[in-house]
């Protein structure tokens, strides 16, 4: 187990270098960010050159990348164009998005698995068909529609929730945005759980457990659930990464100053430091989430052993 973890961690190094270089190069291909700082006005060449020099943009790409790597090893992610250190931006954005992700994951896991279990235990029943219709609806409606709709109805029309999330970003304020973010994944979790449960209902070990005369609670709760959750865990684990990065639309709708919003701003302003910095951290999050999922397999399924 220990050796397996070390091997996986070592594998992360080339993946990390490759992805950061790719994103670094890609932001560069977008073009020169300095021109936009002058608005519709033509940049003054001397000032533009001085700013470029200050940001290190006058060096060749490979040298910029090496400088950047050298800096981030020392914990320096550079500065955004408004003069704010990127680490400071991360310090405010990541906790916010993490909260949102947690809320979303809890919704996904609790509601998704519960719905999946109910419909999987009685395939073809009323609850199963209801869940099927419900998940179809959620999957087919885009996030921004659910987002704006809930915001308008609950926030503007009925005044039940705050339209925008305040800068303190309490968990309570994040319930509705979290639900919106969780929406599509929740539907997938329901589907996955349902299929997996329905399949495992017909397995030998389950029939054995029932034949042994175990109470139904134990049959379903331990034997069935534990084995049915493996694909779900994979999905939810991978989803942590994409939720951390991919809540751009929901974050903008509900005024959440999280990772998605910072990335959006960074791309719009072609702010290399912000975009590469955030993506670098996200790459780490993805890699670690994947490792965690793989380790969880072993916990759920004793047949899987890592050496």
């Amino acid at each position: 187990m220990g050796r397996y973890v070390i091997r996986r961690l070592l594998q992360m190094v080339p993946v990390f270098l490759g992805t950061t270089f790719l994103i670094f190069a890609m932001v560069h291909v977008l073009g020169d960010p300095v021109a936009a700082m002058f608005g519709d006005r033509t940049p003054d060449p001397a000032t533009a050159a001085a700013i470029r020099h200050d940001l290190g943009l006058d060096l060749p790409l490979w040298q910029q990348y090496l400088n950047y790597l050298g800096d981030i090893v020392q914990g320096d992610f550079g500065k955004a164009f408004n003069g704010q250190p990127v680490t400071e931006l991360m310090g405010t954005a990541f906790p916010v998005t993490l909260k949102l992700t947690l809320v979303a994951i809890v919704f996904e896991a609790v509601i998704g698995v519960a719905l999946g279990m109910i419909s999987g235990l009685r395939p073809g029943g009323f609850a199963d068909n209801g869940a099927l219709a419900f998940t179809l609806l959620i999957i087919s409606v885009p996030t921004f529609v659910t987002g704006y709709l809930l915001q308008y109805l609950l926030g503007v029309k009925w005044g039940v929730i705050n339209v925008s999330v305040s800068s303190e970003t309490g968990i309570g304020e994040l319930l509705i945005p979290g639900l919106v973010v969780a929406g599509v994944s929740l539907a997938y979790v329901t589907r996955l759980t349902r299929t997996s449960v329905a399949e495992n209902m017909r397995t030998d070990y389950l029939r054995t457990a029932v034949a042994k005369g175990l109470p139904r609670r134990r049959v379903v709760g331990v034997h069935l659930m534990r084995n049915s959750l493996i694909p779900v865990v994979t999905f939810v684990g991978a989803d942590i990464g994409s939720l951390m990065a991919g809540a751009i639309i929901t974050e903008r709708i509900f005024n959440i100053h999280g990772v998605g919003f910072q990335l959006y701003n960074g791309v719009l302003r072609q702010n290399v430091q912000t975009v590469v910095g955030f993506v670098t951290v996200l790459v780490l999050v993805f890699l670690l989430a994947n490792l965690l999922v793989d380790l969880l397999y072993a916990v759920l399924d004793p047949r899987i052993r890592y050496a």
């Binding site: 001397a46 000032t47 050159a49 001085a50 200050d54 503007v156 005044g159 705050n162 925008s164 005024n255």
Partner: protein, 544 residues
Amino acid sequence: MRGVTRVVCVVGAGSLLAGCGVAGGESRGGTDPNGVVRASWSDPQRPIEPGNTNEVQGGKVLGLITRGLTRYDPKTAESVNDLAESIETEDSRVWRIRLREGLRFSDGTPVTARSFTDAWNYTANITNKQVNAPFFQYVEGYADVHPADETARPRAKTMSGLKVTGPRTFEVRLTQRYATWAEGLGYQAFAPLPRLFFEDHAAWLRRPVGNGPYKVESYRRGKAMKLVADPAYRGPDKARNGGVELVVYTDPNTAYADLLAGNLDVADDIPAAQLPNAAADLGDRFVVRPAGIIQTVSFPFYDRAWRGARAAKVRRGISMAIDRDAITKRIFNGTRIPAKDWTSPVLGAKGGYDASVCGEVCSYDPKKARRLIEEGGGLPGGKLVLTSNVDTGSHRDWMDAVCHSVDKALGREHSCVVNPVGTFADYRTQVTDRKMTGPFRAGWQMDYPNIENFLSKLYYTDASSNDGGHSNPEFDRLIDQANAAPSAAAAVAGFKDAERILARDVPAIPLWYQNGSAGFSERVRDVALDPFSVPVYQAITVTR
């Protein structure tokens, strides 16, 4: 709260009497002088400092916390003396400035002549990398602190043209005659700065200190800024509310929703998608007024195909093929007004606006348009490629409409195609690298309300924002002549003569003037926009 206000009034009965009378009278009508206005904001792109702020969001803050030599009347856009007691010149080249007595920054330090010259020298100096440095390019000695050569180091720390002649007086020597120079002094790049700015720059940026009606109470970058009315402010535009809280929104649609829900008092920049509903949603709480912004389509004169008399005919033809009335009505719901010259109606006749300058070139006449384009040898390359960034401002929508209009006039499908560029940054890079092959969008938001700002910065040979590379010696000569005029009024007349050349040349097609829009909540009153489409925060009153 009411009681507290009264007590303050009695104690400060001396000089504050007039101000208290107003506040007291209104508090009976339900006004809360301590009420805080919650207003929408978005994250400024650059650090907030006079030399580095060139967009509206940072400008909002500077407009609240700084005051300059002159200011622009929020209603008429006229430039009037503010901190300056007098600004005098005999030859439009050497300007003598005298400040009013007893001026102070909100930290208590005095505003002196040096507060101005130090600030201007700081902004102009290349080592400080300030984007507004070119505003000082006509001051003598600018080339020494800001060499044009990208590799050269500055030869001086201060501009030789700035001379402090007393604690409240200084002299500015320009490199050329510039009759309308004083008209630009209300722009925020010319604001004075306290000693703190130079002694502890980082601290100043964390919490800017100025001399305006408000002072910064707290600033959480990227989230919110709280400003409180400065009780020591002595200017004519004292705050009529207790403070302003600027809240950063991720999206103007969210700000609008918050306004409807009553969680926000003032939302400026109503998103285009909401404009059709705004009047119904807000009723008389919806404000629209002309802003000093003109959208044009410029041409790449560095491309041979667009030069010469025949190409000028084609440009005129394209202009006449655009149905401005229909496009502004359908796409912008009347929040943009078809352009009739190259300036803006907010200037007023005195500032140089004249709706007759463009004439038939700006009117829709598809038959004549087609004839002109054919006489000019047809569209260069056989078709028109219209370029703009499409990440903001509904640019994609109006470009499609313009192309459709041109197609219809020429009776040929796909004679005009849109070349959308994903981000503003990329677009501006392509424009400044002179990569355009056809007409491209050129927006201009005035820095100060004068015709000079709309003409000499954009169409003079090698001017700072002459993206298309337009050059006409006759136009340049008239601009020079206007600059050398003995008075601002004579200069304006001269600039209008120069503008008539544009109607012949059509270096850029005027499309429409842009209006600023804002909505406000039932909690506040007296919300208006200034000619820069920024809410006049200090005039807003909060009801109890």
